[in-house]
Amino acid sequence: MTAVIHTERLTKMYGAHRGIVDVDLDVEGGEIFGFLGPNGAGKTTTMRILLDLIRPTSGRAEVFGIETTRDPVAIHRRVGYLPGEFDLYDRLTGADTITYFANLRGGVDPRYVGELVERLDLDPSRRFKEYSKGNKQKVGLVVAMQHQPDLLILDEPTAGLDPLVQASFYELVRDAKANGRTIFLSSHVIDEVDRTCDRVAIIREGRLVQVDRIETVRQLAFHHVELSFRQPVPTAIFESIDGVSAVEADGDVVRMRVNGPIGDVVVLAAQHGLVDVVSREPNLEDVFLAQYGAHAPTSETAA
């Protein structure tokens, strides 16, 4: 596939402050790509460079094979963008706002706009300043999606949306993908990326630390294994197995983290009166937290 977004050693400094550093990224056509990182990691900076709202300090970024600083208008024709923070025109209604941006773009299908408004459950008749945060976000989403762009760049798109509207949004994103469009979305909500995206990039302090398919990334995480026995067993017998760490005993229950297949663990446990095994699949959150040096919650603490 052709890379819709391509960056090479992309760096942005704000004076002495770090924005992003040496970011190399490729987003393929037709995929949903998640950009994951905590506040201030550099997600918005990367997106604003892609739209030529800010310029790189060094390195380069291309969208649709066009360098962002060379012909941003050509890029914008094919892009829909939702900023992370925005405030539109107080005195315009939602419909006026959507119309204004439709006019600036041209070629917007009114029926599709109506469909978007219905699916996002937006009342377009109210003035923008009267909208709640979630409804403002809906207006932003309609503005970003109404022209059915080839590439959607969405900065924390579900912020402020209620769960029902979030579900509608995920549906819209999946529909866009089904129609061959590319979605590049940032989030610090790990579950959102985990459920929606094909591939994910994790950015930490301005540098990309991981880029891979969601399933592959998950495999890099530990399984959390909980073994129940008839009576307490010494933890030391498991600590010698390759890939096992953080072994803890709590009465006749032993918990551990296992990197890789858990077969050896189960075989050994069966020899010591194993009653039950609970193994929680690793998820993106485990990977993310591991990248940030935090411990992934166990099944108990997570509950």
Binding site: Y14, G15, R48, L51, D52, L53, I54, R55, P72, V73, A74, H76, R77, V79, G80, Y81, P83, E85, F86, D87, L88, Y89, L92, A95, D96, I98, T99, Y100, F101, A102, N103, L104, R105, V108, P110, R111, Y112, V113, G114, E115, V117, E118, P124, G140, V142, V143, A144, I153
Partner: protein, 559 residues
Amino acid sequence: MTSGTVVLTPSRPWSGIVGLGSVFGKTLRDSRRAALIVGGIAGLFMLGTGVPFGRAPEFSTFELRHQFTQAILSLPVALRGLLGDPIDIEHLGGFLSFRVGNSLPAIFGLWSVIALSGTLAGEAGKGSLDLLLSTPQSRASVALQKLSGHVVALTVAMLIFAGLTFFVGQAFALLPGDEIPLSAALGQGVLFGLLMLASGSIAFAAGPFVGRNRALAFGLISLFGSTLINGYASLSPLIASLRPLSFDALTAHHRPLAGVTDWPSMAILAGITLVFFAIGVAGFVRRDLGEASVLGWLRLPSLPAGIGDAVRRQLADRTAEALAWGIGIGIYAGLVVASAKAFAESLGHLPQIVALVRVIYPHIDFGQPSGILQLTFFGFGSLMLSLSGAHFLSGWAADEGRGRLAVVMSAPISRTRWMLSSGAGVLAAVAVATLTLAAIVAFAVWTQSGKLADPVAGTLIIGLAAAGFTGIGLAVGGLIRSSLAAPAAGFVAIATFLLDTLGAALKLPDPILQLSIFKHLGQPMAGAYDTVGIVAAIVLAFGGLLLGAWGLQRRDLDR
């Protein structure tokens, strides 16, 4: 899937010109009210000045007008100050040009400066430009469309102004030559419009580099500095040396209403304006959006912390602005004081003028700076100080408008207490501006060896009047909506000023004229005080605050 829901507003043929069809159209759509107001009020100034000239017996013959001209010419240039050069003031057009030609561009130039400082930098700050620039519009196109939208709106305003000026010339011409040709009215509109745009262009050029607030400050300095330098250049070699920087000085000999034109100076000013516009567009195209780090260190001092309570929070946020207002108005007062000696000397040669002024100001000692301040500073200075209160109220209202008040109200503090505290903070900001002004006035008077007590006390009294207007804003903000506080205070202050300056000429009934609080303050800069106005100002200030607190207790927040 298709939908029957109709969202998009049908496009009309004129949407791209005035409407939501383009960035230009939206800019013009957003500016239409301002254009009507500026054009209308500027025209009213011409009406209010032209009607008495065409009707009053003092100007009914050329002989009387000639006497008036001689009296004006005998006054020192410094005293004429903002009035400008008396060119052909024996005719209606020349008189209008002389009377309001210098001050109108300064007053209405505020529109251009405010609009052009915010059209790019302000919207970038809000984040809406991010969305706008994600559409297939180049930055240069967006900047030029916004710019041209303002220029067209300003052109509309000046056409209204020119139309009303032409009407004044036709309807109130008394003597031969009083008629104002349409070309002269249009020419004066072009002059005013270009002067307004010139200062606006500085704000526009600065915006992408220094952000909205500093760009606004640069534009205002240019606007008022240019006017004051031109008006008071004869006071000192220092001010005279600044004349090349003054747009007003550059075009001082272009007075179409007086039948005098200097189009080359207009061409130069247009060229300068275009250069600044080009700098603004280039800065916007080349720089990161919303990145305005240049001169980030340049700021007026503000109170540290300001986190003790709502009073200190408001005051901390407003101190720098209050100092700026105080210093700005103070510079004007200082220039007036500096002309005091020249004024006193000239009066010694003009017994007939002394007799005339004595009728209006029987107790004023024109040998003192305080007398000059009362005569030439009191009206406009009072208006400016009152507008500072409206400005502080707009910052105060942002607490509710931007949702901060809801967070504050989640703390164990009653609405009444918050309103009283934050309102007191706004009034304290007015006090800071007033004290700053008083300090500058005192210094200026001291340098002229004048008596300090009267002008300082007078400054404090006009500060009380400003607090009174601010109190009206607080009442409206508390009772109805905080976003209405600043417009309400500003409207009442400007309406009062217009009532004072135009009311008599328009022959308004005396009970209406007496509504102006400025009529009831005495002649405070010169030491004559009227307790009615002083008490009224205090009642308005604190009564408004209490009324606002009562109102806030009863209405929904975040309206």
